[in-house]
């Protein structure tokens, strides 16, 4: 007699947004927006030489310090170079440095963390010690040291930032590995006769890789900003230019007064990119976390 659970009521309840649902397993429109921006900026940067845009190094494309307009969308800088072209070309260095460094960080840090978390004991103590030292050592000083000694080329700048990323990534990877190494499926695999190597690759890696994947995006956001920081100290790549270097050039007091757009556009590009990377990374992490919770719930 009570139709509280009748189909009518059930349908009504499900559409009732106020109560929400227990599990939201969707990435949401925000994620897709962020992803679209990332795809756009990456594609534009990759295809920069073939795009119908001005030569970023050619001076006098427009007048000096021309405000944004129809001929030069983002205006020009004090050498009369097209800021739109420069922002897209600048993305190349920023993104490559950001991506290469986080890749290095994840590869080395992730591996060290997994080894440390899986084998425990002496190996763990040694690796953990190195990680602690890396964490305690001021990152900026390390970067100054490496770039100062080895030179300001793109691979070296990327490597430097990558080294800085190793320690925090190693810690995360170790913690994730520890959590999974305790699980009984790892014991089961050993009982079946699997070698350590096989357990790490077949059982642990797929589980550690998921949180790591989300971290790639978050980490890239950090390294892009870090590259900007290095540029500010004049330690970024010598050849070519990145968003960071463009911001430095644009933030000279006189330039800033006469043409704020020179700094504004690279700042804006960096901001939107970092925001998108952070947001997408965060959503991905949550998405996969929820999947984990879903286990066992039939």
């Amino acid at each position: 007699m009570d139709d509280l659970f009748g189909m009518e009521a059930a349908r009504g309840w499900e559409s009732d947004e106020q109560f929400g649902s227990i599990v939201i397993r969707r990435l949401g429109p925000g994620f897709w927006l962020a992803a679209a921006w990332i795809v756009f900026i990456v594609t534009a940067a990759a295809l920069a030489p073939w795009l119908p845009i001005a030569d970023p190094n050619e001076t006098g494309v427009g007048g000096r310090m021309e405000a944004p307009g129809w001929s030069n969308w983002f205006g020009t800088d004090n050498n009369g170079r097209d800021m739109f072209a420069r922002t897209i070309w600048g993305a190349r260095v920023s993104l490559v440095v950001g991506f290469m460094s986080i890749l290095l960080g994840i590869f080395v840090g992730g591996t060290l963390g997994m080894i440390s978390g899986y084998f425990r004991g002496m190996v763990d103590r040694v690796i953990s010690f190195v990680v602690f030292v890396l964490l305690a050592y001021p990152g900026l000083v390390l970067a100054l040291l490496i770039v100062g000694l080895a030179g300001q080329t793109l691979p070296i700048v990327a490597t430097t930032l990558g080294i800085l990323a190793i320690a925090p990534i190693a810690r995360l990877s170790r913690a994730t590995t520890l959590a999974y190494a305790e699980r009984e499926f790892v014991a089961a695999s050993r009982v079946l006769g699997a070698t350590d190597q096989r357990i790490m690759v077949h059982e642990l890696l797929p589980n550690v890789l998921i949180p790591m994947g989300a971290l790639t995006l978050l980490g890239m956001a950090i390294t892009i900003v870090a590259e900007g920081g290095l540029a500010f100290l004049g330690l970024s790549v010598e050849e070519g230019f990145s968003w960071g270097k463009m911001i430095v050039l644009g933030s000279a007091p006189r330039t800033l007064r006469e043409g704020p757009w020179v700094a504004m556009f690279p700042i804006g590009a960096m901001f939107v990119t970092v925001l998108s990377l952070n947001y997408a990374g965060d959503r991905l992490r949550e998405y996969f976390d929820v999947r984990e919770i879903g286990i066992g719930q039939s």
Binding site: R183, E184, F185, A187, A188, S189, R190, V191, L192, G193, A194, T195, R198, H202, E203, P206, N207, I210, R291, E292, G294, I295, G296, Q297, S298
Partner: protein, 336 residues
């Protein structure tokens, strides 16, 4: 009890496993040691089910892990095929040699969810053993073998094999675990609390499957549980443990109908529906389990035992025969 001694070991070439004077200690802080398992011995006959029963902290799971050398015990020996020409001392094997013996002893665990890798498909999980030993079993049709064991545990390979563990209930996950263990055709299957995490209506399914598999694949089972009724039901022989020691060993029906160790009697009297062979008042003991880092001298059960005397504190009881295939480590065994 809780004593040492090896009187309960049987002289026979039918034994498939013998655990002798097994000790497992873990470091805990500075100069502290957890005495998880202290000098226990038992053996398992081919085709029999040995039940190990005791409360949390008694060392039953540690014992199970020690048999498969995960980790290696602190001291003592674990022998496969003891007393025969094929005798293998597991505790003396390392690395590749140990790995080569592993398929002979398989294990299933308590937590059906944690036992299966959430990122792998059921087919890969069940085939894992065969794919590790692919070179040793070149003739085995992996696909067919996986289908066979999945069917044996009551799952439809067509439906199950391509799914991931989170699409299954606890009972089904436990079936998958059993299938994974069986795929390598083991001789011994160690079941560590295999039904404790399952709903009561599913427990009997898993127990019945284990019994069927035992028959079908000629397995020897070591069944570990805190649940006396379940242990009695599945076991031929039972070992009762307390705080890292063995209290009582014997034929399942004998041990449960004539419990001789005070601790066994307490367990039987404490069950939600107490056994008729003991008086319910026998369940009145202290709640506090002594620390395994500083176990009591002499008999480890003496701090909670109703029969304790000075002798129990000064001298550790040794395993003694009290009946046909019934051994107990107590200075004052029998009914009160």
């Amino acid at each position: 009890m809780a004593g040492s001694g090896t009187a309960q070991l049987r002289e026979s070439d039918k034994m498939v496993l013998r655990v002798e004077n097994l000790v497992m200690e873990f470091p805990a802080g500075i100069h502290q040691v957890v005495h998880a398992v202290s000098d226990i011995s038992f053996d398992v006959q081919r085709g029999e089910t040995l039940g190990i029963v005791g409360e949390s902290g008694c060392g039953k799971s540690t014992t199970a892990r020690a048999i498969v050398q995960l980790p290696k015990p602190t001291s003592g020996t674990v022998l496969l095929d003891p007393g025969t020409d094929a005798e293998i001392e597991l505790t003396a094997k390392e690395g590749e040699e140990l790995r080569a013996i592993r398929p002979r002893i398989q294990m299933i665990f308590q937590d059906p969810i944690s036992s299966l890798n959430p990122r792998r498909r059921v087919r890969d999980i069940v085939a894992e053993g065969l794919s590790i030993w692919r070179e040793e079993y070149p003739d085995v049709d992996v696909e067919a073998q996986v289908d066979e064991v999945l069917t044996a545990v009551g799952l439809d390979p067509e439906v199950a094999a391509s799914r991931r563990p989170h699409q299954f209930s606890g009972g089904q996950c436990q079936r998958i675990s059993i299938a994974r263990a069986l795929a390598l055709n083991p001789e011994i299957l160690i079941c560590d609390e295999p039904v404790s995490a399952l709903d009561v209506s599913v427990q009997a399914q898993i127990i019945n499957i284990l019994e069927e598999m035992k028959e079908r694949y000629g397995l020897t089972l070591i069944f570990i549980s805190h649940d006396l009724s379940v242990v009695r039901n599945v076991s031929d022989r039972v070992v009762v443990m307390y705080l890292g020691k063995v209290c009582e060993v014997g034929d399942s029906n004998t041990l449960f109908s004539e419990p001789a160790h005070p601790y066994t009697r307490v367990l039987l009297a404490s069950a939600p529906e107490p056994s008729a062979v003991v008086d319910e008042s026998e369940s009145a003991i202290g709640d506090e389990l002594p620390s395994p880092m500083d176990p009591p001298s002499g008999c480890r059960f003496r701090t909670r035992c109703p029969r304790t005397t000075g002798l129990c504190a000064s001298e550790e009881p040794v395993m003694a025969k009290v009946g046909l295939d019934h051994f107990v480590a107590c200075h004052f065994p029998g009914s009160p």
